[in-house]
């Protein structure tokens, strides 16, 4: 009887299009292509502290604030006032919402140890309460937090049937529901609740790799809809919960023919006299002390001078240190930070996982919409985990920037020697459009810097090695002199130049 009913219901579901309710959670609605199933229950499972309650609360609050859908939040765990404190910094006026009958918040005291069992029973009492709550504010959304505390001490044999009844009941009431549950053997795996009953199951986890904790979200199941099925990192900050769906980007890249100067005229000369492509990715590599930061700083300066905004993500030096150091070579960045053209993002690489750095940066990009972003240096971030991960993340991040038409320049301590030692380094350089290599050449007791363009996709770049000089007035790149002995750099070049002048 029950079986045939279910089959019938499923057939009905197929016949009409699956409607979705947007959760309003950043990134999540992209992952699910619209949100969670409308007027159906969604199960959110996860361990302790994985952010289940927070996600559920945000679903209700965003529903009220963004979609004008009243919501019921029924908790069996935390006291209502504790919950209010937990979400108070999110900037929602919960008190007003409750007064305006948009939000119904109730803490249901579940103390089954005060009960004695004598025969068969069910959870009809809960249904009556839910019904009253839904009616009182004409709710479109409802949250039950959490299943575990609701069923604590109840007979496990009745749980399955009652849980099923709860789901069907919620479907009948035409409310979009989120039910949270701790991911345990008992509920999900052993009773197979997610297999049979829930249309959509989302798993949250909080894992620690290399001593850095990362929250991750995965859609275990979404009946009747396609969905992204990887694990996605998410953060909880003062803006609430944001998921980073890196895969959905990279579909419609627009290729630009517009050029952006590098800030060093002689370097532009090597790049068809025009500079980089807008929206391309540029890698500046070289061992330490070769002047990578100086190059990106000149680029940043030129961007700001052209009245565009630049976003400087520093993972090594603090912004003040960069400003001071660059001042010594005649690059004044301070005026641009004051005018807001140049913005810094500074974080210790070990603060969080690389993906989360990208997520935070992404949030800022969405907010400030810069035309150029600088990551200095990317190699520092690579300490946080196996390199293969980093490459994937970097690729996805670059893809994302391309769709946003943001030019990205990043530095890395990659040299020809390090590629030989660590081939995965080359992988990083193979995904960039333009690669400039800085080298330190030691000749006759003198170290000199040289620069060459390793590759520049889509342009006839110079193949020349040039000398690269940092002066107190900025950076200059000059053609290298040669004679029968080879390259002439530094003092040798000056001597040779003098000789030429005398001869002339």
């Amino acid at each position: 009887m029950m079986e045939s009913q279910e089959v019938k219901m499923e057939l009905n579901d197929v016949s009409h299009h699956l409607e979705k309710t947007p959760t309003g959670i950043k990134g999540f609605d992209n992952l699910t292509l619209g949100g969670i199933p409308q007027n159906r229950p969604t199960l959110v499972v996860g361990g302790i502290g994985s952010g289940k309650t927070f996600m559920a609360m945000q679903f209700i609050l965003k529903g009220i604030a963004m979609y004008d859908e009243p919501g019921v939040f029924m908790t069996f765990e935390e006291k209502a006032d504790e919950l209010l404190t937990n979400v108070s910094n999110l900037g929602f006026e919960l008190g007003t919402m409750i007064k305006e009958k948009k939000l119904y918040l109730e803490h249901l005291h579940v103390s089954h140890n005060e009960y004695h069992e004598a025969g068969k029973y069910n959870i009809d009492g809960l249904f009556i309460r839910l019904e009253k709550a839904i009616e009182s504010i004409h709710a479109k959304r409802i949250v039950l937090d959490s299943l575990d505390s609701l069923f604590v001490n109840l007979d496990i044999s009745m749980l399955r049937s009652e849980f099923k009844r709860l789901f069907f009941w919620l479907k009948e009431k035409n409310v979009t529901a989120i039910i949270t549950a701790e991911l345990g053997d008992i509920y999900v795996t052993r009773l197979g609740l997610e297999e049979n009953v829930a249309d959509c199951v989302i798993e949250l986890s909080n894992r620690i790799t290399n001593q850095i904790a990362t929250r991750r979200l995965r859609i275990l199941k979404y009946r009747g809809s396609e969905h992204a099925n990887n694990e996605y990192p998410f953060i909880i900050d003062e803006n609430g919960l944001s998921v980073f769906p890196i895969v959905t980007v990279g579909v419609d890249q627009v290729n630009s023919f517009i050029r952006i100067p590098s800030g060093i005229p002689k370097l532009d000369e090597m790049l068809e006299n025009k500079g980089f492509f807008v929206g391309s990715s540029i890698l500046v590599s070289g061992s330490s002390g070769t002047g990578k930061t100086s190059i990106v700083a000149s680029f940043a300066k030129s961007v700001c001078e052209n009245n565009e905004t630049c976003f400087f993500c520093a993972f090594e030096e603090s912004p003040n240190q960069i400003i001071r150091n660059m001042k010594s070579i005649g690059i004044n960045l301070e005026i641009f930070t004051k005018s807001g053209k140049l913005q810094f993002y500074y974080a210790r690489p070990t603060l969080q996982n690389l993906e989360l750095h990208f997520l935070s940066i992404k949030v800022l990009i969405e907010e400030h919409k810069p035309s150029v972003i600088i990551l200095d240096p990317i190699t520092n971030l690579m300490t946080e985990g196996p390199n293969s991960d980093v490459r994937g993340m970097l690729t996805r991040f670059i893809d994302y920037l391309k769709t946003k038409h943001v030019t990205v320049m990043f530095t890395a301590a990659i040299t020809l020697g390090s590629i030989a030692r660590n081939p995965s380094d080359e992988g990083i350089s193979s995904m960039v459009d333009t690669w400039m290599m800085l080298e330190d050449i030691e000749l006759d007791g003198e170290r000199n810097r040289s620069i060459y363009v390793m590759k520049a996709r889509g342009m006839a770049h110079s193949k020349e090695v040039r000398e690269f000089i940092i002066t107190s007035n900025g950076i200059t790149v000059i053609p290298v002199l040669r004679n029968e002995q080879g390259l002439l750099l530094g003092s040798k070049r000056i001597a040779a130049e003098k000789k030429i002048n005398v001869l002339a």
Binding site: H112, Y121, I123, D124, I128, R129, E131, L154
Partner: protein, 109 residues
């Protein structure tokens, strides 16, 4: 010594005797007119008639009609029998088919 014991015992018997004639007050919450509701009322009546004849008061509350009661009593599982008097309050969930358990948990003497 002996006299003191006799006195104490007599006092206790007096208390028990007094409570013996006191009425038990029960609230029984059911949800609508289902088989489960009917069976539960039937079971309750048969137990009370057997053990507490003329000494009990049973109030049957249909929770689907009296929703404010459900809120007040924090009810989730049903049917629910609450012994309101004498104290302590005791809550029993289920259709009361387990007679021995019911009489024991309710301290019916």
């Amino acid at each position: 010594m002996l006299k003191e014991h006799t006195h104490k015992t007599n006092k206790l018997i007096e208390i028990v005797e007094k409570h013996k004639h006191e009425k038990y007050i029960f609230h029984l919450f059911i949800n609508g007119t289902s088989i489960l509701s009917a069976r539960t009322i039937q079971n309750a009546l048969s137990i009370f008639e057997n053990h507490l004849k003329d000494r009990y008061e049973l109030k049957v509350i249909d929770a689907s009609k009296e929703k404010s009661y459900v809120m007040k009593e924090h009810i989730i599982a049903m049917p629910l029998l609450i012994k309101k008097y004498p104290l302590p309050e005791v809550r029993l969930v289920g259709d009361l088919s387990d007679t021995i358990k019911v009489t024991r948990d309710l301290f019916i003497v």
